[in-house]
């Protein structure tokens, strides 16, 4: 018994080393998903992100058919990376609306001219107000909203080509 207990401090030390090695190698960045998935979209009404264009209100997203709500910004680099996938989704008949975060009308217009415009409506959220109300923590993010205005799915980060089938499946499931 005495003999064995002599090794206990070393064992405890080894456990600590293992814990530190594990903790230090783990990325501290956490993906924060919205707690509102499964709940009704919060009420909002945003002005158009482009001059003369209609804005986006929560009522526009509860019209009987599932829609994709894309949170993007012209200053966001991964948003450029997902642009072709959004265009492909539009080609596939998906209704996509967008919220432009902290953006200027002329920058949004340039962005869409350069990378294509897959959006039916774009609301401008200059102070991230609606983004925070949605529980979204960055750009780009996409929410799938069913026909009754309930958030059914959240995709965090850019939509890659390999994500497209899952997005379409989630939209089908939200029907």
């Amino acid at each position: 018994m005495k003999r064995a207990i002599i090794w206990a401090p070393l064992l405890v030390f080894a456990i600590f080393v293992a814990m530190f090695a594990f903790g230090l190698n783990r990325s501290p960045e956490q993906v924060i998903s919205s707690r509102l998935v499964g709940q009704k979209l919060p009420d909002f009404a945003l002005p158009g992100a482009l001059p003369g264009q209609p804005g986006l209100a929560s009522a526009d997203l509860a019209k009987g058919k599932p829609r994709l709500l894309n949170i993007f910004a012209s200053w966001c680099v991964p948003c450029v990376a997902e642009a072709p996938q959004l265009m492909a989704l539009k080609q596939a008949g998906v209704q996509i609306d967008a919220i432009a975060i902290r953006d200027r009308p002329e920058d949004v217009a340039n962005f869409l001219k350069r990378w294509g415009n897959p959006y039916a409506r774009i609301g401008g959220d200059k102070q991230s107000r609606v983004q925070i109300a949605l529980g979204s923590s960055g750009v780009p993010e996409s929410f799938i909203i069913d026909g009754r205005g309930v958030i059914r799915h959240q995709h965090i980060g850019d939509i890659r080509p390999e994500d497209v089938p899952a997005i379409i499946a989630a939209l089908e499931a939200a029907r």
Binding site: E29, Q30, S34, R35, W75, R102
Partner: protein
């Protein structure tokens, strides 16, 4: 040399292409009591982009927008606890630096007490022998 310095400074400035900040992002509320409440809350809320910092400490654009939101809500008469609950409802307990006592966090409170008890139990034999 001087020109190069200013060029570098201009290049290093992250605000060149940015939007103007939200009105209340870096402006205190007129009422010092409300500002103190808002400020205390902002120190307890985690920035979503630069995750180790509070929104009061962070320079990120989104942290600025969150500060403006907190100040506006406090100014509109909401209590700090209501604002905090509103954010937790959206982002989970993670957004707060003040975790509640629940099923996953109770060891944080219980561990020191349990370790102390274990220590007393271990030391007990020693004291007895000395007597």
């Amino acid at each position: 040399m001087k020109a190069a310095f200013f060029l570098l400074l201009a290049l290093a400035s992250p605000t060149l292409a940015d939007m103007p900040k939200a009105a209340l992002a870096d402006t205190q509320l007129a009422d010092p009591k409300l500002e103190a409440e808002a400020s205390a809350l902002m120190h307890r809320l985690r920035c979503l982009v630069c995750q180790g910092q509070s929104i009061a400490d962070s320079d990120a654009d989104m942290a600025g927008d969150m500060r403006a939101l907190v100040r506006e809500k406090i100014q509109a008469g909401e209590t700090p606890d209501e604002v905090r609950a509103w954010l937790i409802q959206r982002y989970g307990n993670w957004v707060s630096f003040d975790p509640p006592l629940d099923r996953s966090t109770w060891p944080l409170w219980a561990a020191p007490a349990l370790l102390l008890l274990a220590g007393i139990w271990l030391a007990r034999g020693r004291f007895r022998r000395r007597r």
